[in-house]
């Protein structure tokens, strides 16, 4: 079986009859793969303010600790995520002892407003 004209023409006909591989993205939303590392979801009710996430983040400055009275633990501190520096490596979610941080399948991280590229805060 060499690379002959027969194979090439057969391939061409098959591809012509096939639907395109690309999607009409902005008009038709495409779901990211299972286990995709996208927008960060942070559950404030689980946070204990141990700052392990901030200490182990490889993109320095992507996570800083801020004061927040809503945190139940004594420390009264929670992480603040800066998604413009984040490299979505999942380290924070991995080291979190209470599993308060989760990476979702949402990849729509472009917006005209700053709020559009923010992390999701839940458990308030």
């Amino acid at each position: 079986m060499k690379l002959s004209w027969g194979i090439v023409i057969k391939e061409a006909i098959r591809r012509l009859l096939q639907k395109p591989y690309t999607w009409k993205y902005p008009f038709k939303d495409v779901k990211a793969a299972e286990g995709y590392r996208g927008r960060i979801e942070f559950d404030i009710s689980k946070c204990i303010g141990c700052r392990l996430c901030a200490l182990s983040c490889p993109a320095s400055g992507a996570i800083i600790m801020v004061r927040d009275e809503r945190v139940k633990a004594k420390t009264k501190r929670r992480p603040e995520f800066n998604l413009s520096i984040c490299c979505f490596c999942e380290t924070c979610a991995m080291v979190c002892p209470t599993k308060a941080i989760k990476l979702t399948r949402d990849y729509h991280l472009v917006d005209y407003k700053k709020e559009g590229v923010k992390y999701i805060l839940i458990g308030v």
């Binding site: 079986m1 299972e34 286990g35 995709y36 590392r37 392990l52 182990s56 490889p58 999942e90």
Partner: protein, 398 residues
């Protein structure tokens, strides 16, 4: 009359930029001098400012194609410094990711090499096959390129039924394709005309210049870290070394194609024999390693990868040194290219699997006439294709 060519250097956004200065007589190359260091990003210095834990994600970005082998090699040293042994299941999953990566890297290289020779149809075919590996990676690790499989002490994610099914379907498909590629390489006129007797490197020269990976194996040098210093479970796996004797660009091609078959065997073996158990042993992110120096070696898709790690007992590495395979192979380009034609440069340089983008522009200086001529990558590729046409007209095609 000698003419001098500064060749390269750079397009820093892409793989590994490298510059060359060629001295030519007419069309023949008399002398070649490599010129390195154009893509210095200061990663080794950056690693000194990160903790051992954080550095796991920095080393992964050294190479976009073989990111997993960098991470795995680095972590092997780190786990030794922390005196922890990873669980068996984690080692199996790491092996799986390394072999998947080898397949995707070789397929990518094959496509590029075909393209350089002006043979674009199989370029499309190989990249379509590569897409299947990337789909598996996306389903498994959540990313197509920088996978982040591992964490210090083990791996992050477990194999799911969906991924196992995808890989099981992929193996027979790819085996069929590999056979077909092998047939193309050994029988097709276009390929034989362009790759045979180009960029020849003999056995002694390969040993002398310290060639590694497929470049060395194509010259018959038995050099593979999976055989010499087996890590993880490569000793038990059905790994076999692929050797070719010819040492030309075609042999390097064949070695890579046959290696895909070996990788498929290993992947199948991993899926059959993977034990159950935990995914990682806990290494706390703020723990300090013991004092010492470690060297770890891996067989990357391009050859031997070495990591040297030195710890002074602190949270941050004292020194991390990385020796990538391309650095070892760049010297062998000199031996391969001398005596060859200008039109063969793209194929010879591509045959060691470096950054093709290095060929952004070529400056030709005529010493006697004091003339300068700048050649772009496209012009050089056009020259390469012209050479092929000339050979076809002359009847040199076998």
């Amino acid at each position: 009359m000698t003419t001098i060519f500064p060749f390269g250097p750079i397009h820093p956004a892409l793989k590994e930029p490298v510059g060359f200065i060629f001295e030519v007589e007419g069309e023949r190359i008399v002398k070649a001098i490599p010129n390195l260091g154009f893509a210095h990003r200061g990663i080794e210095k950056l690693l000194e400012s990160k903790t051992w834990f954080q550095a796991t994600y920095i080393v992964e970005h050294i190479c976009g194609i073989c990111s997993q082998v960098h991470q795995s090699c680095y972590l092997m040293g780190v786990e030794k410094l922390y005196e922890k042994e990873i669980p068996e299941r984690a080692a199996y999953i790491r092996m799986l990711s390394l072999e998947l990566e080898r397949i995707h890297s070789h397929l990518l290289w094959m496509g590029v090499a075909f393209h350089e020779a002006g043979f674009d149809t199989p370029f499309m075919y190989t990249w379509r096959d590569r897409e299947k590996v990337l789909d598996i990676a996306e389903a498994f690790f959540g990313r197509r390129v920088v996978w982040t499989t591992s964490r210090p002490g083990g791996v992050k994610r477990d194999l799911t039924d969906k991924v196992i099914k995808m890989i099981r379907e992929f193996i027979p498909y790819m085996r069929k394709r590999v056979k077909w590629y092998e047939e193309i390489l050994t029988t097709d006129k276009t390929v034989l005309a362009r790759f045979r007797n180009v960029g020849y490197l003999d056995h002694h020269k390969a040993v002398e210049l310290g060639a590694v990976g497929p470049v060395a194996r194509a010259s018959g040098v038995k050099r593979d870290i999976r055989l010499e210093d087996p890590y993880y479970f490569y000793k038990e796996s059905p790994f076999r070394i692929v050797l070719e004797k010819d040492g030309d660009a075609l042999a390097k091609f064949l070695v890579r194609v046959k290696e895909i078959d070996v990788s498929l065997d290993i992947i199948e073996w991993v899926l059959d024999n993977i034990p159950k158990g935990p995914l990682f042993v806990n290494i706390p992110p703020m723990a300090r390693p013991k004092l010492g120096k470690v060297i770890s070696r891996h067989e990357a898709p391009r050859g031997e990868l070495i990591y040297y790690e030195e710890s002074n007992g602190n949270l941050r590495p004292y020194r991390v040194r990385v020796r990538t395979p391309t650095f070892a192979n760049v010297v062998s380009i000199i031996a391969m290219i001398e005596g060859g034609y200008i039109a063969d440069i793209p194929i010879v340089v591509a045959s060691i699997d470096p950054c093709i983008s290095c060929m952004d522009r070529v400056l030709i200086i005529d010493r006697k006439r004091k003339k300068r001529k700048i050649m772009s990558k496209d012009e050089l590729i056009a020259l390469s294709r012209k050479e092929f046409k000339r050979k076809r007209i002359k009847g040199e095609i076998i």
